[in-house]
Amino acid sequence: MDLRRTMLFMPGNNPGMLQNGGVFGADAIILDLEDAVAPKEKDAARLLVAQSLKTVDYGTSEKIVRINPLDTFARKDIEDIVPCKPDALLVPKVESPEDIQEVARLVAAAEKSGQAPVKLIALLETPCGIAEAYRIAKADKRVVALAFGAEDYTASLGAKRTKEGTEIFSARTIVVNSAAAAGIQSIDTPFTDVNDREGLIADTQLAKQLGFKGKLSINPRQIDEIHNVFNPTEQDINWAGRVIKAIRKAEAEGSGVASLDGKMVDAPIVARAERILFLARLLGLAEEVVL
């Protein structure tokens, strides 16, 4: 299970930022060739991102490149970037399973022999993309997550983008459900007001509540706040530990049914508890949970 609480965009044409991408502690960094880069600078950015992938140490951050859409520069991007071994590509404006399959074909053709397969994350940011979310999630085994881009989506809808996000509620739940049904991760849209700390926390809490596993981010200042929301709390960890203890005890006693605080502990609850403990161990929040 890969940790993608935060996926931080870095403009692909900014050497200073590319050099420092690894210092902010984001779970993933996205070197952006798309929106951050003007059309006439695409070639320079592609070169810069390719060199960054080869030379810069991004520490524990997953290295992701947002390529351009298929109808613009995607082919050239894939051809030049994939051999530089990014962990994944973020594919923008995906609207159908065929889009993903086309990208997957291009990626396979560009990969060098022996290279670890480059993963794909589909960015859904149009009504069509949302409508096809489940089929996109299932389109290719390289797809590891669906990400949601609300700005373009609401523009297509003709809806006003608000901080409360009522206008994107359905799209969010569709993305979460489609990804879960396909057994992959769902990543929420960025919160764009970098000066509104309270707003960021509230929006991230909502995303977590809805079932997202992480959030795109447009500013390094947002990383800690988003992590704080997605990290399991002490209370979560204690609860999860008690769940596992209860189920082990039931198993030892030969009983198929466990209960905790008067409630039945069934498989989904155990799965949730296991995920919390996994995260806690991964993040060093719990050294070795006492069971």
């Binding site: 200073g16 420092n20 140490d57 390094p220 800690d224």
Partner: protein, 515 residues
């Protein structure tokens, strides 16, 4: 040439032409005072006598200002200062030669000094910080005598101990009355505290107030009293308010700077210092302000009231005072109009002189009461010695100011710096110009990790326990060099263009002519 090596391994001549005998630096607290205080001449004024003079030229003639004198100035008007240039223009007009300018900091506005040096009007400079074309001229070896670079506390000490003997102090006074009471909180050129002028006023042989805002007697509040002022000159304008306000009221938006600032606040917390009676100093730049911003968040979360914030005071510090996060501000220099307003109206905002702030040779400098100071660096070496004097090209571009003083005084001194500045690693085996000795620097915070001075094993343990990214300074250096390569050493010329004095008056390093 006879050489001596000081306590941080710098080779120095035993004597420098135009400076004199070198007392080598032997340790931050190893040199004790062995002199009496400087005593200026005792004077009087009779009832009915006047101090008001029409112009500076008249003052020159009355004193009289003669060849070879030392004229002192403060830098509270910063890049808006009009008084230094005004006074030196009079000196040039009257044909006075061989003057030493003792100006607490030199700004780009002071560029005309270079011309005065070329004409022989000025031959010496004694300062704590310099930027602009004067700094470049110093590096090029334009001055016939080496410039003396001091710390803010060191300048006060040198004045008090008679090593910087001031013949005439010209004090730019944003407000004055005709009997010589002065303050900095009123008038068109209001700058706040007059802290750096206070030792000059106390110890100079002659004190001349230069003002553009004469108020009826008696002026109050009084920063510099009538008892020490010989003459008051009324001029049209002492400075440009636009150049007086400096620093910034906005925290940096640079994400790397913010990351460093946030880590700095975590370091302070991990050291156990976010608690009641916490005292703090930081600079006025956007990155320093960001450190204050994160420290403030932590203080608010912990419900802590600090005792005082010290040093150059910005509007942000005033906000923290007014929000009850600090009980007092101790202000040697104000950076913006909020600092001026607060000093004028808030009795918890205290104005102090440079001696009170930072002099090592008195019975109590405020820096000694600091818990934490956050300071910058242009370079730092693996011995934690810091350079804030010369840039990556070997040219003078700054000076200690209060850097070495606050570092020496504070319980924990944190140096913040980008591990890579542009494409240059910030950590060297040996800094080009040592300004602040490593024994007074406790922690280095960079965007790629923090390093703790081996002298502070106690802090190292605390930071490790708090999960902070602690590395050795050598590891950080390697990390930077892995990314950017190892820069070639700067080669400089032979001629000594500046002598860097530590706060106690010993020589910590010299600056040689830039190639």
């Amino acid at each position: 040439m006879n050489q001596v090596t000081n306590a941080i391994g710098r080779d120095l001549p035993v004597s420098i032409e135009g400076y004199g005998q070198v007392r080598p630096f032997v340790g931050a607290f190893a040199t004790a005072p062995d002199m009496l205080r400087q005593a200026p001449k005792v004077k009087r004024i009779l009832p009915g006598e006047q101090k008001l003079v029409n112009d500076i030229e008249t003052v020159f003639k009355k004193i009289p200002v003669t060849d070879g004198m030392t004229l002192s100035f403060h830098h509270h008007l910063r890049n808006g200062d009009g008084v230094v240039n005004m006074v030196l223009a009079v000196a040039a007009k009257l044909g006075v030669k061989n003057l030493t300018v003792a100006l607490s900091s030199v700004f780009p506005v002071h560029a005309p000094i270079v011309e005065h040096v070329k004409n022989g009007v000025v031959t010496g400079l004694d300062t704590n910080y310099m930027s602009g074309s004067v700094a470049q001229a110093v590096s090029q070896g334009v001055f016939p005598r080496p410039v003396v670079l001091r710390t803010h506390g060191g300048r006060a000490r040198a004045i008090e101990c008679g090593q910087l003997k001031i013949d005439v102090a010209f004090i730019a006074a944003p407000a004055a009355d005709d009997y010589g009471n002065l303050n900095g909180v009123e008038g068109p050129a209001a700058c706040g505290s007059l802290g750096y002028a206070i030792p000059d006023a106390q110890y100079a042989d002659h004190v001349v107030a230069v003002t553009d805002h004469l108020v009826p007697y008696p002026l109050s509040p009084i920063s510099i009293p009538q008892t020490r002022v010989d003459y008051v000159v009324k001029v049209d304008c002492i400075g440009d308010p636009k150049g007086i306000v400096s620093g910034t009221t906005k925290i940096t938006r640079d994400p790397v700077g913010l990351k460093i600032a946030e880590t700095t606040a975590k370091v302070i917390k991990a050291a156990g210092m976010i608690k009641d009676e916490f005292s703090f100093q930081t600079g006025a730049g956007g990155a320093s302000l960001a450190a204050a911003y994160y420290v403030r968040q932590m203080m608010e979360e912990a419900g802590v009231t600090g005792s005082f914030a010290l040093g150059g005071i910005t509007g942000y510090m005033v906000e923290m005072l007014e929000a009850g996060l600090f009980r007092k501000l101790i202000d040697v220099q104000g950076f913006d109009l909020d600092a001026v307003r607060s000093l004028a109206g808030n009795s918890n905002h205290l104005e102090v002189g440079a001696d009170y702030y930072a002099s090592p040779f008195n019975l109590g400098a405020a820096v000694n009461k600091l818990d934490v100071v956050v300071l910058g660096a242009t370079e730092i070496d693996t011995g934690f010695n810091v350079n804030v004097v010369t840039g990556s090209d070997g040219v003078v571009m700054g000076g200690s100011g209060g850097h070495s003083d606050a570092a020496a005084g504070a319980k924990m001194t944190i140096v913040v710096a980008n591990l890579l500045r542009g494409r240059l690693p910030i950590i060297k085996d040996k800094v080009l110009t040592a300004t602040t000795p490593g024994e007074t620097v406790d922690v280095l915070v960079t965007e790629r990790g923090i390093a703790v001075n081996p002298l502070r094993a106690d802090l190292y343990e605390k930071f490790k326990a708090a999960g902070l990214p602690v590395k050795s300074v050598e590891e950080l250096k390697e990390l930077a060099e892995k990314i950017a390569g190892e820069p070639e050493n700067i080669s400089s010329g032979e001629k000594i263009v500046a002598v860097v004095e530590y706060r106690d008056g010993t020589v910590i390093d010299v600056v040689r002519q830039a190639k």
